[in-house]
């Protein structure tokens, strides 16, 4: 730790070559992801990659400073972990606090309003990631000119697609505003229920727009699917590895983004555990601390830290569920699973396709909910007997999210533990970085375009680094090249 007045001006290390011929390359900051990350690559004297790591460089300390706050404040406080998916944290905290105050079942209006908020957020977050952040790589190529490889470049070359992306995100944000009160950091969910219903006027605005949204969502899914299928030969091995997967499922095994039990499967699709209740999460999962990252490394306890790591997010959710309970997304899931003969799909770049299946699923769910008269109900709150402890799991856009709180008799929080989605993908992202670095950088002259390949693999996971560093830090993307003795050889910051 340090204080402000002791900070010396930074000496930028870009390409550092050690006398023994080894090098260190740095990509910092990682861009077109949410938050701050840094990649350090070590090359040996032959120019072969000996190590490549993604470092999370931010830390904020939420788990400690939430202590002492009143429990009812937590859903609005902890969502400030993340401005892209604040609804996930808002709802996970509200669900955990439902349990704290002894509410096991919400009123139909409250549960459906929260679900509508959640599908609105999944819709906007997936549209944002696909169109604003990832599409430049897919449309222009991984090593395209930096000047065009961004959403403004997409707007110039493919104006219709860019406008659709903007309007889809806007629709999702408007759904959030109507359910949570604000587009970013709303207040809708409160322990035990919700603070408003959906007016008929609000509903009718969405009903007018929803058919157009459905058409665009189908189009986005087709873009992602066609791209993946057409480039399968190149994409299949790109940053790919076999792994376990985890995600929430409903009692009948269908995908459920808001509630349910956790299912984990191994690389062949065998079930490791199923329908795990949120209250049991700490018996099944643990997080390893490693000295070089502020982000921890979660693993399944029964398998251990070495091999118990798992992936989460759209790819994993499509892999673990038996079916999707909306017709068009279910059809899309079958097509997706056929690519790997109904075995788990481990292709890192297939995340984009799976994400667009969920985008369509969210649109279908929004249609379903808009036609449900319960949303105009006036019974918003449920009551129960205070318990003092609560755990919740929700499927955030980026994967399974765990919140756990203890609250004392003064209503003050005494303990908080959060396992955010991106944290579960820490080991997987590091594997992807390492695999791409070894394939594309070993023995090569390192260019900006080659370094972007590493970021493409990271972006597939749609990491949310602010979330991931709720504990205390911040993550810029830098690639450092270090020799086998740990000396910094090269520091490549893009741009």
């Amino acid at each position: 730790m340090t204080s402000l007045n002791t900070i010396e001006p930074k000496v930028e290390e870009r390409h550092v070559e050690a006398t023994n011929g080894t090098r260190r390359v740095v990509i910092e900051p990682v861009t077109r992801v949410e938050g701050h990350g840094k990649v350090v690559i070590h090359l040996d004297e032959k120019g072969e990659v000996s190590q490549a790591r993604l470092h999370i460089v931010e830390f904020r300390g939420f788990e400690r400073f939430v202590q002492g706050r009143p429990y009812w404040e937590v859903p609005v406080l902890v969502q400030r972990l993340c401005g892209i998916c604040p609804v996930s944290h808002h709802l996970a905290a509200a669900k955990a606090m439902d349990m704290v105050i002894g509410v096991d079942k919400l009123t139909p209006t409250a549960e459906k309003m929260r679900r509508l908020m959640h599908y609105g957020q999944t819709y906007q977050s997936h549209a944002l990631h696909f169109f604003h952040l990832a599409s430049p790589d897919l449309l222009f190529g991984f090593d395209a000119d930096v000047a065009v490889r961004n959403v403004i470049g997409v707007a110039a070359a493919h104006p219709e697609l860019a406008v659709q992306g903007v309007m889809m995100r806007k629709f999702g944000q408007e759904v959030i505003k109507a359910t949570a009160g604000k587009k970013i950091h709303g207040t809708g969910a409160i322990p035990g229920g919700i603070n408003k219903n959906l007016s008929i006027a609000e509903r009718d605005v969405f009903l007018k727009d929803i058919e157009q949204q459905m058409t665009w969502a189908r189009g986005a899914l087709k873009v992602a699917m066609d791209y993946t299928v057409a480039n399968l030969e190149k994409l299949a091995p790109f940053g790919t590895f076999e792994s376990n997967h985890a995600g929430l499922v409903a009692p009948d095994g269908a995908m459920d983004l808001y509630d349910g039990g956790l299912r984990a499967i191994d690389a062949d699709g065998n079930i490791i555990f199923d329908h795990m209740a949120p209250a049991k999460y700490a018996e099944f999962l643990a997080e390893e601390v490693r000295p070089w990252s502020y982000m921890k490394f979660p693993f399944i306890r029964s398998i251990g830290p070495e091999n118990g790591w798992y992936r989460v997010g759209p790819l994993s959710r499509v892999n673990v569920c038996n079916r999707i309970d909306t017709p068009e997304a279910e059809e899309a899931r079958k097509v997706f699973m056929a690519v790997t003969q109904n075995k788990p799909n481990h292709i890192t770049m297939a995340y984009h396709w799976a994400r667009m299946i969920e985008l369509l699923h969210s649109a279908e769910k929004i249609v379903e909910l808009l036609h449900d008269p319960d949303l105009q109900g006036s019974d918003l709150m449920a009551k129960g007997e205070f318990r003092g402890e609560g755990m919740a799991i929700i499927e955030a856009p980026r994967g399974s999210l765990f919140h756990h709180y203890r609250v004392d008799e003064n209503d003050q929080v005494t303990m908080a533990n959060l396992i955010v989605s991106t944290t579960s993908n820490n080991e997987p992202m590091n594997r992807a970085v390492s695999s791409v670095a070894k394939t594309y950088l070993s023995g090569k002259t390192i260019t900006e375009g080659l370094l972007n390949h590493i970021e493409v693999a990271i972006r597939a996971y749609d990491p949310c680094l602010s979330c991931a560093t709720h504990a205390l830090g911040q993550m810029p993307l830098v690639v450092d090249l270090v020799d086998h003795e740990g000396n910094v050889l090269d520091h490549k910051a893009k741009g």
């Binding site: 340090t2 931010e58 904020r60 400690r64 400073f65 993340c82 707007a155 643990a286 000295p291 893009k494």
Partner: protein, 182 residues
Amino acid sequence: MSEKPKVATTSLCGCFGCHMSVLDIDERILQLVELIEFSRSPINDIKRFPGRCAIGLIEGGCCNEENVHVLRDFREHCDILISVGECARTGGIPALRNGIPLQECLDEAYLKGPTVYNPSGKVPDSDEIPLLLNRVHPAHEVVKIDYHLGGCPPSADTIWAALVALLTNKPVELPYDLIKYD
């Protein structure tokens, strides 16, 4: 093209919500790129300042030494710096840790939690991750800031109105609706 004023953005110790609020100008983003050109920003892959910028948007305060370096770099390269949102203006929610010794925050996250597995008993510490500051600082404690936009986050309309006024050389006069928060 090149005579368009350049705008750079960064997120320091923030949550990206203020950047999302910038994107909430929705279709006006197409009008915005008629007025300006984006310089370094997390929404593109320009990672270092290619030249001078008219405006820098700062989200977040400073919680580590890296934040301080980036903020000083922004001051050096931008004619006007705007603190966007409560974290840049006051330190915001992350500054809740200022009343607590940093070591306690680290211990809670890396030694104590019910899912922590840490056989070495040490908190992360490596040359590759930046030193944390003892306390979280608002941006204007580190460099001179020219304008402040309040809110968590400031609304898209607020950001839009301020940018358009500055880019068209008009005084930044925001109506009450745009500067009242939650």
